[in-house]
Structure formats: C-alpha cells, structure tokens
C-alpha cells in the first residue's frame, strides 16, 4: 500500500525532497514506514530516532494527528494515509 510522507526542515534536507510516496506491507506501522525510508537516508533515522523511539524533540503525525496521541511509532497506517515529520515548533516574537 502507498503512504505519502511529507518532511520539513532538517528532515526534508535529510531525504532531499518534501514528499516521498512509499510502498509498505498491509500491516505496517508509521515506525516501519519511516525506518524503511531511513534505510536509503540514514541521516533521517539519526534525526528522528533514539534507541528505537521517536526523539522527544521530533514530531510525527498520521493524517494530521500526532502519533504521541495515538500509539506512537506503533500507530498503524493504511493505504492512502499521509505521514508528516517535523522538527520542534516554537513560537516567537515579531
């Protein structure tokens, strides 16, 4: 099944483009998707993961819902889902 993955900031630089459409098996999780992409782009894995978990400072969503509010990297994905990975989001001054 095809999963659309959007990357932002340094994560985009690690994979070289904003969007990757990735084919995975039907029982895949969001962690499987990102780890699979990281095989070709090792820097992505270094940025996103620490000891197999999502780094505290990194963010991943499935269909615009943060995986911390779902099952973390074990959150299942389905055909046509959108995964987004982005760096810390801080507000700021004018």
């Amino acid at each position: 099944m095809a999963i659309t993955c959007d990357f932002y900031g340094p994560l985009r630089e690690a994979v070289g483009r904003k969007t990757i459409t990735h084919d995975v098996s039907t029982d895949a999780t969001v962690g499987d998707v990102l780890e699979s992409i990281a095989v070709d782009h090792p820097e992505l894995g270094e940025l996103l993961f620490s000891d197999g978990d999502l780094r505290e400072t990194m963010n991943v969503s499935v269909n615009s819902r943060h995986v911390r509010l779902q099952d973390g990297l074990e959150t299942p994905v389905e055909d046509g889902d959108t995964v987004r990975a982005y760096p810390p989001a801080e507000g700021g001054s004018t």
Partner: protein, 556 residues
C-alpha cells in the same frame, strides 16, 4: 532567590525632574523585568489614567540575568498602560540594549509626564540629560540612530527610539531598539510619543553588584547554544511556516482560510535564501536573527520572522517574500508592530477585495505611520474600526490575533481568551505542547491548568529575563532552580502574582470575564473559563478578589 539589583530611576519629562528610589523589596519579591515593572505600574499608574496622558508611565526593566554571560538573555522588558488594549501590558525586545541599560546602575527606568517639546533623554551612571530634538520630528528610526551617533557617538545598541508612528500615536506603534528589534506589541511606542520622547539612550560603567549562582550552568547553556544544529539558527521562526500551513493552520486572507497556497514562497527556505549573514542578541550564541537582502532591489531588513510572514504574507494574500520583507522594513523604520499593522492592513484588504495587492499594502503602511488618508482610520487598530470596515473583529482585548490559530490549537485559543494581553501568542505559548502532541490540540476541557502553568512560567521568563527560545530548549525546570537558586514552584508563584496584578489593574478599568473572549467558537469554553478562574482563585466573573491583591501588596 536571585533577583535584579539597582535602583528605580524616575524621569518626569514634564518638569524635567529626576528621582532615584530604592526598590530592593520589590525586586526581592518580583525578581526583575516584567515582574517588578508590573508591581510598580500597578501601584503607581492611576487606575483611571489615560494611556496617552501624562499620568501613564513607561517602565524599562532588566532582570538579574542581564548581568550574566549566558546565551538567551539579550533581552529587556517594557511595561505600561496600553493605548491598544486599554490594560496593563508588557512587551519584550532583544538586541544589545540590556547590558548598556544595566551599566547605568538602575534596574528600572520609569518615564512619566508629558514634554512640551520633542526630547532625546540621555541616561548614564552620572545622571540624566534632556536634549530637545525638534529637528528629528517624523524621522525614521535609522535616521535617529545616525543623529545620535553623529552628535554623541551613541550607536543603536544604546538606544530606544520611536518613529513617526509613535509621534502620531498610532495605537500599535512600537518602541524600537538596535534599529530593527521591537518592543512590538501593545502600542507602547504611542505612549512614548504622547510624552514627546523621541529616543532614550543608556550608557555607563556602573552595573550594580550582583552575585550569580551556579555560573557553571551559564557556560553549559552557552555551549549548547553555540553547538546546536537547530534549524532556528538558520531560519529563525520562519521554519514553522510550511508545516504549520500543511499540518495545522496558516491564517490566510484575513483569517478566512486556514491554508495558504503560497506558503513555500514566503516561508523558511525563501527567507533563508535572502539571509546574508548571521546575527544575534547580546551574548547569545544561538544567533537566530535574520538579516536579509534582496540583491535585485537592494532592499535590506532583519526578518521577516514567522508572525510577519503571516501578517503581511498569507493574511494579506501576498506570496512574494520580497514584498513581505518590504512591509517588515517599513514597519521597523516607522516604528510599528508588524502583527497588528499587518492584520489591520489585511482587514482593509478584506473590506475592499484587494488581497494580494502588495503595492497597496506598502502604501497603507506608509499612510498608517503618518496617519494620512485611510491610514488615519487604520492607525486605530482592528478592534476600533472593524465595524466601519464591515469586517469581523480579529482582535482580542484590542490586540490583533497572532498567527498561531486557536481554531486549530484550541488550548491556545483558551489562552488567547483569558490572556491579560489579549491576542498574543507569547503570553502562555500553550500552542507548543499542542504542536508537539504533548496535549491534544482539540478542545479546551481540562486545559486551564496548562494555560495557567504556561502563563506563570512565561511571566517568570519575562522577569528573569530569558528568551522564549531558551526556555524549553536549554533552560528547563531544574535549570530555572539552579539559575535563580530557588524552588521551581516558588518561582512559578512569582509569575502567578505578576499575572494577578495585571488582571487586578485591568479589573479596575472595567475588564472582567465578559472580555475573556475569542472571535470563534471553542468547545467547552464557558466551563473552561470557570475552571481557569477557579484554579486561579478568582471570582466567577473573572475578577481578582481584593484580599488576594492585598496579600501581594503585602510583599512590599
């Protein structure tokens, strides 16, 4: 508990008198910065004062960490009665002012009265001098710096300045420092203008004695800032633009849409392409500022930051980063808050079906600064003119709504509703744990405690004074304890008292729960407001019980 040291210097620009007052007790109770300035403003500005009258007072204040060499401390606080919100308000600016301010020997400088001629005021460790500067009427901020440099050798890091917008009491006029850094929100530049003070310089060599605990931590933070590979060091806050647009919201065309088709053209990568060198605030190795230049036109400015990308970009339907840079440069030159100005211009574009007309945007910014043509109306801000324009009121307590969209991050929406400062994202920053999935962005139920904690923490941040980009990134709860040599809950209670004094002052001017409002529906808002008041120990109508303020007053 660590706190600032140094006296209160009061300058009455009406009779040109100067007095010095010992405020050690206030500093011990409120640390410095926004905290001590709020305490002084609460006690010394009459509750019925006209924001643009002689009785209003401005408080420039430093915190204890402005005597350190730690990154993320190159900031100052400014407090007064806002002509935009009609309430007590503090604003905060970076740059290089803070160390020169501290070197005068004062922790707070208070400006009161009303001059009958345009003045420059020079504050040093040897005293105060008044310089009539009628020839600087309508001068832009860089021209004032040039004049002060030519006459006195004073560079921009010694100066706070208003542009023509402040002189003409544009309600969202800013006070500028280091030419391009702004005490932006709330129109305190108009207060300075109403007092006929064009600029104030700070210089000296007499920083008060202060022993800073755990200075090894300062070096640790400094080292982390210097070696961080955080994308903010390249793109500042503009790195947020694209993923907020895709994942959450980038308010577009006067908030009528949540997504902007031109986000990539005005966002982090577009701004970084225009960046020509690194820049920082004093002693900060994080260096997240954004000097930008367009080689084709020669336009130079600093920024835009994310909020300006929103206010003059997506919210005006403008998709060319150079056009946004131009709006940013004009606001800095004339001395106006880019959020309030951009949102007010967007309201005009909505009323006249002119979204995307960048030339008109730039014309309107100039007209606002000089109160010419339609600019005279727009200079009043959205809350006062939306009926006349026939558009929705996207200002809360008079302050134009920031980019972080309470319709989508709804704890932030609750935060906007209760904030004493109104539509300002920096008051509680509850959107950050919502963006990070630490709390669910949907709904307001159960979020009052998050809003309160963040409000208290940010009041502490602004009293210390630490940059928002250091809090959470390099200075977390345990480090606050080491920096201030105090229990974290005790530190948060300082922040709580600051919020409470702001609220009490505003209550005396007629504000209550009816003003705790946002221009959109939020689930469970009424019950969340009650939860917020209950947890604060306030009355059901959102006012502060008198005995709570008496207890704070007892900290004198």
């Amino acid at each position: 508990m660590l706190h600032a040291t140094g006296s209160l210097l009061t300058i009455d620009v009406g009779d040109r008198s100067v007095t010095t007052t010992d405020i050690d007790d206030e500093l011990a109770a409120f640390i410095g910065g926004r905290g001590v300035a709020t305490k002084l403003a609460h006690d010394r500005i009459p509750f019925d004062a006209d924001p643009l009258g002689a009785d209003n007072r401005l408080y420039f204040a430093s915190g204890p960490l402005q005597q350190s060499n730690m990154s993320f401390t190159g900031r100052m606080s400014l407090t007064g009665l806002s002509p935009l919100t009609d309430g007590l308000l503090s604003s905060n600016a970076g740059g290089y002012l803070s160390r020169n301010f501290v070197a005068t020997g004062h922790s707070v400088v208070e400006i009161v009265g009303e001059s009958d001629e345009l003045l420059a005021i020079h504050v040093t460790d040897e005293g105060v001098e008044f310089e009539p500067v009628p020839e600087l009427e309508d001068a832009g901020v860089p021209a004032v710096t040039d004049a002060m440099n030519d006459r006195h050798g004073l560079e921009s890091e010694h100066l706070v300045t208003i542009g023509p917008a402040g002189e003409r009491v544009v309600r969202f006029a800013s006070v500028m420092t280091y030419d391009e850094r702004a005490f932006g929100r709330g129109g305190l530049g108009a207060v300075m203008g109403a007092k006929s003070v064009k600029c104030i310089s700070f210089d000296g060599d007499s920083a008060p004695a202060l022993e800073l605990p755990n200075e090894d931590l300062h070096m640790e933070v400094h080292r982390e800032a210097a070696t961080s590979d955080d994308i903010m060091r390249r793109q500042g806050t503009t790195n947020l633009t694209e993923f907020l647009n895709d994942e959450f919201s980038l308010p577009t065309r006067y908030y009528s849409e949540l997504e902007f088709e031109g986000a990539a053209d005005i966002g982090g990568n577009a701004v970084e392409e225009k960046k020509y060198e690194k820049a920082a605030c004093s002693v900060c190795a994080f260096a997240c500022k954004l000097p930008t230049r367009d080689e084709e036109t020669g336009l130079e400015t600093e920024g835009p930051e994310f909020e300006t990308v929103f206010s003059f970009g997506s919210n005006c339907g403008v998709d060319d980063v150079v056009d946004v840079m131009k709006s940013n440069e004009l606001c800095d030159r004339y001395g106006m808050d880019t959020i309030s100005c951009g949102v007010t211009v967007a309201a005009y574009l909505a009323a006249n079906d002119e979204f995307g007309n960048a030339e008109l945007v730039h014309d309107l910014v100039e007209q606002i600064a000089f109160r010419e043509g339609d600019g005279d109306l727009l200079a009043e801000g959205v809350a006062r003119i939306h009926d006349e324009l026939g558009v929705e009121n996207w200002a809360i307590k008079g302050l134009e709504h920031a980019a972080h969209d309470g319709r989508v991050v709804q704890g932030q929406g609750l935060s906007y509703a209760v904030a004493n400062r109104g539509g300002d994202h920096m008051y509680s920053t509850t959107m950050i744990p919502e963006y990070h999935g630490k709390i669910d962005p949907e709904g307001t139920a159960g979020k009052a405690e998050h809003v309160i904690r963040n409000e208290n923490l940010n009041a502490l941040r602004d009293s210390g004074i630490i940059c928002q980009f250091g809090v959470g990134r390099a200075v977390e709860d345990d480090r606050f304890e080491r920096l201030f040599d105090a229990d974290f809950q005790d530190l948060l209670s300082v922040g709580s008292r600051v919020v409470e004094l702001e609220r009490h002052f505003n209550n005396q001017r007629g504000f209550d729960g009816e003003d705790d409002w946002v221009p959109y529906d939020l689930p469970d808002l009424e019950s969340s407001l009650q939860e917020y008041y209950d947890e604060r120990g306030w009355n059901d109508d959102g006012t502060v019980p008198a005995d709570r303020v008496d207890a704070i007053a007892g900290s004198d």
